[in-house]
Symmetry: C2
Subunit: 325 residues, 2 copies
């Protein structure tokens, strides 16, 4: 009988969360929906939890980490071909990257950034899905964040790792629903977050299938297929999962529609924002940020009583190594 007791507590399962009103509300929700005799019980098959990635599961400042990947990739590609390097030194946004000119890069706008990411993703011509996964895996192993010097995968949020583990122990199906590229996240999501490739939903490029001398490959083309942001998030959740989530975490206005969609689930549910409030240990930003802007989302969260996690007040640790940025 003792062995069957539920030994889950905030202290045991969420040690990096301060025991306060917010963590209690979150913990109680998880406990309620997974307790057979509770009136809020939800069957395991419907325990769908969705998480934004940038700014929700790992940091996103001073730029999305995938942009740093794209820049490193452009630099590496330039070194493989003097012609390409000469061409890129005449052409934005590549020139800005090769000259490490962040101001010029920012000036290239969203169009420039997307071009950069496309080029980095598909290579000079195009990469197979297997080649691309290897490139990402290699980058994740070696690249370091420009201001913290940490590996990017060491800049994931320890409190969220604990939450993901608790959810899986409670038979939730945990999905990442990110504006980042699905094939950029998949190669390391399982090792870092415990989230398998099939549970990663993200933005994507156009793919082509080719049967090369009996060896089929999938080729990545430098053309956007789907942008998994804003209204794209509930649409992708419907296309991919076909059910509404009962738990959703985001950190920006780009997650608002995903949180609304979750909030309209007829089953018990919880929509939650991570609010970046800790300028000392991480970064503090919301309505005026150039990345992860959070304005409408905070207003709706207040109106509908969504959970708003205050990083500074609610989190005992930020990163897995216990050190801040």
């Amino acid at each position: 009988l003792i062995a069957c007791q539920d030994r889950h507590t905030i202290e045991n399962d969420l040690p990096s969360w301060n025991n306060n009103e917010n963590s209690q509300r979150l913990f109680q929700f998880i406990s309620d929906v997974s307790s057979k005799n509770n009136k809020l019980y939800v069957a395991p098959k419907d325990r769908i939890a969705v998480f934004d990635n940038d700014g929700t599961l790992w940091s996103e400042q001073p730029a999305y980490f995938q942009l740093f990947f794209a820049m490193d990739r452009v630099r590496a590609l330039a070194e493989t071909s003097p012609e390409l390097k000469a061409k890129w030194l005449e052409q934005q946004p590549y020139k800005a990257v090769l000259e490490n000119d962040m101001k010029a890069l920012a000036a290239s706008g969203e169009k420039g950034l997307i071009e950069l990411v496309m080029a980095s993703h598909t290579g000079n011509d195009s990469a197979t899905s297997d080649e691309y996964a290897d490139i990402v895996t290699q980058w994740v192993k070696t690249a370091k964040h420009p201001s913290t010097g940490k590996a990017y995968t060491h800049m994931v949020f320890q409190p969220m790792l604990e939450l993901l583990t608790l959810l899986r122990e409670k038979d939730f199906k945990v999905y990442i629903v990110s504006g980042g590229g699905v094939d950029f996240i998949r190669p390391w999501a399982e090792q870092v977050y415990g989230v398998e490739p099939e549970n990663v939903i993200g933005s994507s490029v156009k793919l082509e299938y080719e049967y090369r001398n009996g060896n089929p490959v999938i080729l990545r083309r430098p053309k956007l297929n789907f942008i998994n942001d804003k209204a794209g998030k509930p649409i992708a959740i419907h296309q991919h999962i076909g059910k509404r989530p009962i738990l959703a975490f985001g950190n920006s206005d780009g997650d608002l529609q995903m949180l609304q969609w979750t909030d309209a689930n007829k089953l018990p549910h919880l929509s939650a924002y991570i609010h970046h409030t800790d300028a000392e240990r991480e970064w503090a930003y919301d309505q005026d940020s150039h990345i992860g802007q959070l304005k409408q989302g905070l207003a709706q969260a207040a109106k509908q009583n969504w959970l708003v996690v205050d990083m500074k007040k609610d989190w005992r640790n930020i990163y897995p190594d216990g050190q801040s940025q």
Copy 2:
């Protein structure tokens, strides 16, 4: 110790399969990849099995069952509005449907059929995802196949149901990868096949998200988003699952690329075709069929030693009720 023994046998687990070379090969493959000490062992996370639907998990003659749904839907919609009915009686392919003129319907070609399916899927204007699921659920409960008189979901293949069950017991992740509409299959796939909505991959229409007075909905638009056929199948498998399958079943040339993609997995794998050879109990067709054409596929299967299931020789039963068509 006795309780831990593997009691699986063809007779116990696949009673609707004759015990012969084909069923032994299939059974052995499943046993090998799921036995820890076997040199062909594959970890559960990589035990991905994909199944075409029409002609592989249920019948598809004399027309795809989703086309019968579309026709029933057009008839039902016409009854809701005299104006619409008058309009459709002047316009193909609707006229053909309302007049039950299968010859004129066939003459409208693929373009006509797609238009019909779009109209039926989205309603006269557009349906929300919830409304559409209700319409499909209601149809599946009441509609009958024109020649067998059976409910369509009673025309699923009993040997395949047994196979799906065995695979799940062996910790495979079972996916449907169908040219049919993903939202047409999901409402009944769990009850009929034990396949949950998130494991159904299919063709899709464009979706839009709308926040209607605080109540978010997803609207289905009468425009194709993705056709999950031929080269689309491995692409969709990559987008959705992000891993190559180790087991794939199809029945037509539309599955060839999915079977090639599976056949190139570095892990132990098996690609398989269902060959419709039983004109008495089901239908017999392959290279000259207007539906489920199987020509290139048979050639490649022979060349690469894929499993080719012969319905007439290999299956003891066809449908769950033990009765044939």
